[in-house]
Amino acid sequence: MPINYYIFLSLALFCIGIVGVLTRRNAIIIFMSIELMLNAVNLLLVAFSKMHHNAALLAGDVATTAGTDGQLFVFFIMVVAAAEVSVGLAIIVMMYRNIHSVDVNFLNRLKH
């Protein structure tokens, strides 16, 4: 597959995530949009990893492991995302406990 397709796909997903962050007020949905962004990155990384692998193969290196690091990076992203989710949801729940809402627009005590 041409790598451009993957780039565009990832960018599309990434920007949809950004749009989600920008258009929603529900903290959970915003957070989900961010997860979507991370997934777009993951997809791109994997695609690049395969691209580099392909390039190494084409260069004649049959036993190459080029591209492994890209996939491992995805693994680490997932790790971090998992950790982030646990903390993030904890924070959202904490806030919900206090104001009984997940609306980020409620969060405007701190300004100016």
Binding site: M1, P2, I3, N4, Y5, I7, F8, L9, L11, A12, L13, C15, I16, G17, I18, V19, G20, L22, T23, R24, R25, N26, I28, I29, M32, S33, L36, N39, N42, L43, V46, S49, K50, M51, N54, A55, L57, T65, G67, T68, Q71, L72, F75, F76, M78, V79, V80, A81, A82, A83, S86, V87, L89, A90, I91, V93, Y96, S101, V102, N105
Partner: protein, 166 residues
């Protein structure tokens, strides 16, 4: 058009459509479900790219664990269409335009890169297999791997600090 190409297009369309549904659904529960669909289609892409380990992990960790956690929280808070806060129309439009123009700009910038003729290897290639990844992870990447334990520890401590009743 080969089957892989058909699959690619299909998965891509599903991914984008469900992603759009994630951000546009009024009901948060629906959003979660659409997001899970997105993740599945991305996992499908992984399989297509022969990144089997990541495809599995993606389904287990993201679709399985993370999204269930989301779902739990949403259920816990009893969020639904009625309680869903709505942004002001103009702000939503502004957000969409900003995000859209970011996409436009980036696509325009990246459409002519020097790697645009390169191909991503589909179906074949062994780097995405558990064996290879595991070997790398526990040799070259062992230090980051250990470090990520610190991350988890801190997340754990954090969750306790935040979640514990006083």
């Amino acid at each position: 058009m080969s089957i892989t190409q058909i699959l690619f297009w299909f998965l891509s369309i599903v991914a984008i459509f469900s992603a759009l549904m994630v951000v546009s659904s009024k009901n948060p529960v629906h959003s979660v479900l659409w997001l899970i669909l997105t993740f599945f289609s991305i996992s499908g892409h992984y399989i297509l790219l022969n990144a089997q380990f990541l495809a599995i992990v993606n389904i287990i960790v993201y679709a399985g664990a993370i999204m269930v956690l989301f779902l739990f929280v949403i259920m816990l808070m009893n969020l639904n269409k009625e309680t869903e806060p709505q942004k002001h129309k103009w702000l939503r439009i502004a957000g969409a335009i900003a995000g859209g123009s970011l996409l436009l700009v980036m696509v325009a910038a990246l459409k002519d890169t020097d790697i645009k003729h390169q191909q991503a290897l589909i179906n074949t290639g062994g780097i995405g297999l558990i064996k290879n990844l595991g070997k790398e992870l526990f040799t070259t990447y062992v230090v980051p791997f250990e470090i990520s334990s610190v991350l988890f520890l801190s997340a754990m401590v954090g969750a306790v600090v935040i979640g514990k009743k006083e």
